[in-house]
């Protein structure tokens, strides 16, 4: 039994209805899991001696606007013992009700979740540490969302100089 199958079977034994779909693309295994089992599965994957995914490489979020569910959160795990990588992916319908935090499983998770919150605006349940990390405290919106404009400098011409100038956000005399 290879590592891909072993993971699926272990999870199925513990959480029968957790895995919604499995996907294999370019030799990378992805398990689509139900949001409410994220923490339980992470605990299992880390503590089970046959799996021992002791390294949480990354947490990152995806925005699929205009589809529904719109957001997805990816967890990239690695097992030193089995030399195997695994991606857990969970769909998030409402960004205010994201998956449960896994900071109790891996210490680094809280820090990685903070980046997801700051740039994509997904709130991890139970993570009290979420705050603006890269952006200023008073920043509006979450820039990595697809409906967030890239931003540009509006060009001023002689006929609309005053009009554009009035909208520019710098301190005027």
């Amino acid at each position: 039994m290879n590592a891909d199958q072993r993971v699926v079977e272990k999870i199925k034994a513990a959480f029968p209805d957790a895995i919604e779909e499995t996907n294999d693309f370019r030799g990378e295994q992805t398990l689509y899991i139900n949001k409410k089992y994220v923490k339980g599965i992470c605990q299992l994957l880390k503590s089970d001696p046959d799996l021992s995914y002791k390294f949480l490489s990354d947490i990152c979020a995806d925005d699929f606007l205009p589809e529904f569910p719109r957001f997805a959160v990816n967890y990239h795990l690695y097992s030193y013992d089995k030399n195997h990588r695994l991606r857990l992916r969970t769909w998030v319908e409402d960004p205010e009700e994201g998956p449960e935090t896994i900071s109790s499983v891996w210490a680094i998770a809280s820090w990685l979740e903070m980046e997801v919150w700051d740039l994509m605006g997904i709130r991890f349940k139970g993570n009290t540490n979420l705050r603006r990390l890269f952006l200023p405290e008073d920043w509006q919106g979450h820039p990595l969302r697809k409906d967030y404009p890239l931003g540009y400098e509006e060009v001023q011409f002689s006929f609309n100089w005053q009009e554009v100038d009035a909208k520019k956000p710098y301190a005027k005399e």
């Binding site: 992805t30 925005d63 030399n83 705050r131």
Partner: protein, 418 residues
């Protein structure tokens, strides 16, 4: 608690007000007795614009919170609006001490998404340049780390040798730092003739230089006092906090992505992975020094085997045709025009490609939606993860030790904030 608020006025603040003001979410243990010190963002030993909020009891660090984001430029967002090829230039600007490694991580992710593999010659050239980047990055680390610990001369020697490597980069890419030399499907162009003798010359003179650096440090009692037994990280802690690269191997975990999950032909080179078990600042120093020797071995082998042949794959839908073809081939003109205006389309899907950058695991998550632009790019950068572990490493130590710990995890702020 009183903190100066500019000028001569002293402002009285409650703990809640203070917490809101510092904005790092740090738990302040004893606001009445302890001093709150803002170290950075403009501070030479924070290696960039990193601000550390430190709660001090006398000279002992009680609590510590990193405050980042001063260099945030929205790299991931900007890349979504560029084609795969044009987005490459953004990756140079993240980890500005090893742009070749960033290029490699991103390009391998793009190639994985497309399902193509570079030609044998391009792969070997990539390995040579990535290892040169590792040496040059370690030289900056060594120089600044020693400078932080009051060994001034090492810095000057390290930068002299780094200059030679940057000249090599300029020779191949036309740029010293922002190289953008690796392209999807191959390289920008082939190596110039002068490259091979120049690298061989480097391989000849550099071993003596590493020996010099070590001679300056390994018997230096100040350096040893300030590195041995400082900032100890156990193997369990290192794994829990996601440390990678030399910071992980200094704690006795033998994990190098070049060995564990080889990419770009690393499995065909003969090299060792240096591992130290002490887990302190000195162990991480030893790992990086030993890595420079191993990189030399890899470059030597790669130079000896450098195969002849094309540097780009033969797929005109990905790699633009050579300039010389544009004059007489209509098809080449079409391909040239299509690739530089629209770009190539990547399939629907997502990949995650990790490489061993000089600092640790550099990974690129890339999602294609069938169009010519990445739908989502995300970089897992080692420095971003390492800065989160500073608080637990530095707790209970002196401020001076904090400086030594920051140097030992080798952070680059451009990569943290991206």
């Amino acid at each position: 608690m009183t903190i100066p608020s500019g000028g001569d006025t002293i402002q009285e603040l409650t703990v809640e007000e203070l917490r809101a003001k510092v904005g790092t979410g740090m738990e302040i243990e004893n606001a009445e007795e302890h001093m709150l010190l803002s170290m950075g963002p403009q501070h030479p030993s924070t290696h960039g614009v990193l601000r550390l909020l430190v709660e001090l009891d006398g000279e002992t660090v009680v609590n510590l919170a990193p405050d980042i984001g001063f260099l945030h430029t929205g790299v991931e967002k900007s890349m979504e609006s560029k084609t795969f090829t044009k987005a490459l230039v953004m990756t140079d600007r993240m980890d500005y001490l090893s742009p070749m490694s960033n290029n490699l991580g991103y390009i391998l992710a793009v190639e994985k998404l497309l399902g193509v593999e570079a030609t044998p010659r391009a792969q070997v050239i990539r390995v040579i340049l990535a290892e040169l980047a590792r040496i040059s990055s370690h030289l900056v680390w060594l120089g600044t780390h020693a400078l932080d610990l009051a060994a001034m001369s090492v810095f000057l020697y390290c930068f002299r040798e780094r200059e030679y490597i940057l000249d090599l980069f300029e020779m191949v890419a036309g740029q010293r730092m922002m190289v953008s030399y690796f392209r999807p499907g191959g390289l920008w162009r082939d190596l110039p003739e002068e490259f091979e003798p120049a690298v061989r010359q480097f391989l000849d003179f550099f071993p003596a230089k590493i020996a010099d650096y070590e001679a300056l440090l390994k018997n230096n009692p100040i350096f040893l006092d300030r590195t041995k037994g400082i900032g100890v990280v156990t193997a369990e802690q290192a794994m829990d906090w996601g440390l990678t690269g030399p910071s992980l191997r200094g704690s006795g975990v033998n994990w190098d992505i070049r060995k564990a999950q080889p990419y770009g032909g690393y499995e065909t080179y003969d090299f060792d992975v240096p591992v130290e078990t002490d887990g302190d600042v000195y162990a991480r120093y030893r790992c990086r020094i030993a890595e420079m020797w191993q990189s030399m071995r890899i470059i030597q082998q790669a130079m000896d085997r450098l195969p002849k042949g094309p540097v780009n794959i033969d797929d005109r839908k990905i790699v633009p045709p050579p300039r010389s073809e544009l004059g007489h081939s209509m098809e080449a003109v079409i391909h040239h025009f299509k690739l530089w205006t629209e770009g190539f389309s990547a399939p629907v899907g997502y990949v995650y490609q990790s490489i061993e950058s000089p600092r640790g695991e550099f990974a690129c998550y890339l999602r294609g939606d069938g169009g010519p632009k990445p739908a989502r790019v995300h970089f897992r950068t080692p420095s971003y993860v390492h800065v989160a572990s500073l608080p637990f490493m530095a707790k209970g130590l002196f401020v001076a030790d904090l400086v030594s710990i920051i140097g030992s995890v080798d952070i680059v702020l451009g990569e943290i904030d991206r």
